[in-house]
Amino acid sequence: MVHYYPAPDNRWALIAVDLDDLEIGEAFTVMVVTP
């Protein structure tokens, strides 16, 4: 899943479905589309 954290962060974040299931070194392909 993705989630946007508004100001002051102003960042998108990747959130694993299982919160214990995201490790350092994992790779994800991200494509950004704006309306």
Partner: protein, 139 residues
């Protein structure tokens, strides 16, 4: 070249039965057949296409794929690789995507898919098969 206002060029076919392309260019060289570039203004797109209707095709690739030049780990490109690091993972299950292509863009849409083929060249996968299968992004 137009140093004032208005278009620099205009091509039009007014006959609906004419199936020819209004503009056609080709080259035998290594350069692109068509290259659209904006020089100064960062507003608007370098290339815009508009179909006759919402459901009509706006872009048709007759042959070949799509390339995003320079795309890689956290590059400022339309497509990039997000690699979870000690700095990006702030809490359990949350990894911040710090990239200028989406920073500050709350209305952006992110298409995310796990790269299960492994991280980019030179890195060793740190996950187990079980962990990799259960991790999901982009929904």
């Amino acid at each position: 070249m137009n140093t004032g206002s208005g278009r620099a060029g205009f091509f039009q076919i007014t006959a609906p039965t004419n199936t020819s392309n209004a503009l056609y260019s080709e080259t035998d060289g290594a350069g692109a057949a068509v290259y659209a570039k904006k020089i100064i203004s960062t507003g608007g797109a370098a290339l815009r296409v508009e179909a006759a209707a919402n459901t009509a095709t706006a872009l048709d690739i007759v042959k070949g794929g799509i390339r995003v030049e320079g795309a890689g780990v956290n590059t400022s490109t339309a497509v990039f690789t997000h690699l979870t690091t000690a700095a990006s993972v702030l809490s359990s299950g949350v990894s911040i995507i710090d990239n200028p292509m989406c920073n500050g863009k709350a209305n952006a849409m992110l298409l995310v898919t796990p790269d299960v083929s492994g991280p980019p060249t030179g890195r060793t996968p740190s996950w187990s098969t079980t962990t990799r299968r259960r991790t999901t992004g982009g929904r």
